[in-house]
């Protein structure tokens, strides 16, 4: 699947920031894709979620409020959250 350039750019940024907060090891199983799940695939820890939220705001500015966005979600949506969901959210706010 080829991504449009804007989506691909956001995905690349998200991958760089995820590696920054969680370390290189996180991409051992392969690069991040839009269907990568934060909970089941990346097993991102709560402390890493917080760090990622800070990195996203530092990069994109206050309008990309990851924590505020998560707070509106249902439990099942939080469990199923994918990198693609985050990319779509960022695209809508930037």
């Amino acid at each position: 699947m080829t991504l449009d350039p804007a989506t691909a750019a956001i995905l690349a940024t998200v991958e760089r920031l995820v590696i920054e907060v969680a370390g290189d090891e996180i991409t051992l199983a392969g690069p991040l894709t839009l269907t990568t799940s934060f909970n089941a695939d990346l097993e991102l820890e709560s402390i890493e979620f917080v760090a990622l939220a800070e990195q996203l705001q530092a990069h994109y500015g206050a309008q990309v409020d990851f924590v505020g966005w998560i707070s509106t979600k249902q439990l099942d949506e939080i469990i199923a959250l994918t990198v693609g969901d985050l990319v779509t959210f960022i695209a809508a706010r930037t």
Partner: protein, 387 residues
């Protein structure tokens, strides 16, 4: 003298604190019993304890599937699993049996663990006074405060239980008693007591002086400093990587390491590491200078009760909250569980050993535990509810 009934889930960490409180009440002349599952809870109670049996999970396959899922889920999925697959079905299966037991045993007060939700439902339906016990220091904070939709999901699950019990909805937080909440922690960890409702009592941990059967090679212990590394007995399957990281981190350090892990999953050991599947933890804690652990409330309290600083790598459930409370108290450091690297773990251990402020803060928590009164204070707070 009153008849007091403890209602507990089949979870060791939730039963243990009630044992000392029950003993204290019995010593004051009260008649005490536990409504609990004989298989899981019976062995944890004093041999002369009165146990009102709750129905065991009938289907062994189902129980095995639940146990398997409990070991492997983390994060938000673990919260969903805990309530939808475990605590709500537990409440459904316990409520009729508990109601019958209460009718027969006629307690004047129910003491209900926070996760044995059926206890509050039965007490309310019968108009009996009841107290809640909050086993972990995470139990009295509001971890879902920033997640209103998740809070509503939990409130809806609880409202279904109330409806089935023929009770009016109590709204948000109804699983805790409005009469009394006994929290086995202190303000040194959860923050000033005046931030909580007046019916909350902070009694500190209720650590039972339990018999410890595991042997330990005391003569092999090297000189201080010594560090205990334990990720809890139920997390062995997910902790293999962490054990290896801890060994790599501490092999070159001038510390004696006591690692609680199955030796067969750990492999060759450096000379400064003693590794055993089980250790007499209370005895070992008397001989060490710091603890690396997963943030299980019991281990954290047992370490702080000895004034030991901690390095915590939380795995799931309340552990991240407990870890943050210890960090806020200044008594330790939090590291990542899944992806921590040896240099990071080594640096955290060096800091809690070498920087005296961690030990000073841990000693302050220790003093708060002693002052809080433990099981005796809990017994007094419960007696206040008696007619």
């Amino acid at each position: 003298m009153a008849r007091i009934l403890f209602v507990v889930p089949p979870l060791t960490g939730h039963v243990n604190p009630t044992v000392s409180v029950g003993r204290a009440l019995a010593a004051r002349g009260h008649q005490v019993a536990w409504a609990a599952h004989p298989g899981a809870v019976g062995p944890l109670l004093p041999t002369d304890a009165e146990l009102l049996p709750m129905p065991e999970h009938v289907d062994a396959d189902h129980a095995a599937a639940i146990a398997d899922k409990a070991r492997t889920t983390r994060g938000a999925a673990a919260l969903k699993f805990l309530w939808e697959d475990f605590l709500i079905p537990l409440a459904r299966s316990m409520r009729p049996a508990l109601d019958a037991a209460v009718a027969a045993w006629r307690p004047e007060l129910l003491v209900v663990d926070q996760q044995a939700v059926a206890g509050g439902l039965v007490a309310r339906a019968r108009g009996l006074p009841w107290a809640s016990t909050a086993t972990t220091s995470a139990g009295v904070t509001d971890p879902l405060a920033g997640l209103p939709q998740v809070k509503r999901w939990l409130a809806d699950l609880f409202a279904d239980l109330e409806r089935a019990a023929g009770l009016p909805p109590s709204g948000d937080g109804g699983e805790l008693s409005p009469h009394r909440v006994i929290a086995f922690t202190t303000s040194a960890l959860v923050g000033p007591a005046d931030r909580f409702p007046a019916h909350y009592r902070f009694v500190g941990p209720s650590i039972a002086d339990r018999p410890e059967a595991a042997a330990f090679p005391w003569d092999r212990l090297g000189p201080r400093p010594r560090v205990l590394v334990t990720m809890g007995t139920v997390n062995v399957d997910v902790s293999t990587r962490f054990y290896a990281t801890a060994i790599a981190a501490l092999a070159e350090q001038a510390v004696q390491v006591i690692l609680v892990a199955p030796p067969e999953v750990v492999g060759p050991l450096p000379p400064n590491v003693i590794c055993q599947r089980y250790v007499p933890q209370l005895a070992v804690l008397r001989e060490v200078d710091a603890v690396v652990c997963h943030g299980g409330h019991n281990t954290v309290c047992e370490a702080l009760a000895r004034g030991l600083p901690l390095v915590i790598a939380p795995i799931k459930d309340d552990q991240p909250i407990v870890a943050d409370q210890v960090v806020a108290a200044g008594a330790g450091l939090r590291i990542k569980f899944g992806r921590v690297q040896p240099p990071e773990l080594a640096a955290a251990v060096r800091r809690v050993l070498d920087e005296p402020h961690f030990r000073t803060a841990a000693a302050a928590v220790q003093a708060s535990f002693t002052a809080a009164g433990g099981a005796a204070a809990a017994a007094t707070a419960l007696e206040e509810l008696l007619p």
